[in-house]
């Protein structure tokens, strides 16, 4: 039974960094998509070569801007 771990760093200026440790499964993707919907509109998304690896670390930077 694998443990999914996500680390977030929420900066004082509002930027959110997300890092997935271990296997990035469907649960992590679902959470990531949910966060993107709640925090704001995705203006750019880049898949990396790690997208095809099942045990790569996932690093995501989500800058939070003021309205």
């Amino acid at each position: 039974m694998p443990q999914r771990t996500l680390r977030f760093r929420i900066h004082a200026d509002g930027r959110v960094e997300e890092r997935v440790e271990g296997v990035a499964g469907e649960a992590c993707l679902a959470l990531t998509e949910r966060l993107e919907a709640a925090l704001g509109s995705v203006v750019r998304r880049e898949s990396t070569t790690e997208a095809y690896s099942t045990n790569a670390q996932q690093i995501q930077t989500v800058p939070v801007e003021h309205v």
């Binding site: 443990q3 999914r4 760093r9 509002g14 990035a24 949910r34 925090l39 939070v64 309205v67």
Partner: protein, 130 residues
């Protein structure tokens, strides 16, 4: 699946916005109400913090952008931090509350939460999958 995303974050949802205001020590009130500015002038907001000293803090829903916007009389700003700093702190708490709610809803448990010296907040959530 690994990817990098750039998200322009906005104050989109009322509940995490209300929670963020409470985190900063305010008592927000939901529902349409006037916020007071200079010489008792008012403007309608969708949620507000009524203050004794200075003008009120209001947030108005902008249907075009799908986000809440701060509406207040800056000439009457009496908060302990400048308005830019206030919005930074509010946005950080909004992001934190959003991450906490979304993580819990997706079945994750918070295993660590700490404030760092640089003012950032570190959060670790975990979930066991069958």
């Amino acid at each position: 699946m690994s990817h990098f995303s750039t998200v322009r974050t906005e104050l989109r949802q009322r509940e995490p916005l209300m929670a963020a205001l409470r985190d900063l020590g305010y008592e927000p009130e939901a529902g349409s109400r006037p916020v007071r500015g200079y010489r008792g002038q008012t403007i309608d907001a969708d949620l507000a913090v009524i203050l004794q000293d200075g003008g009120d803090l209001g947030f108005r829903w902008n249907a075009a952008t799908g986000a809440y916007e701060l509406v207040t009389d800056l000439d009457l700003w009496r908060q302990p931090v400048p308005v830019e700093r206030f919005l930074s702190r509010l946005t950080q708490r909004y992001a934190l509350n959003t991450v906490l709610t979304a993580s819990t809803d997706e079945g994750f448990t918070v295993s660590e939460q700490r404030s760092c010296q640089d003012g950032s907040i570190e959060l670790v959530v975990t979930r066991w999958d069958a």
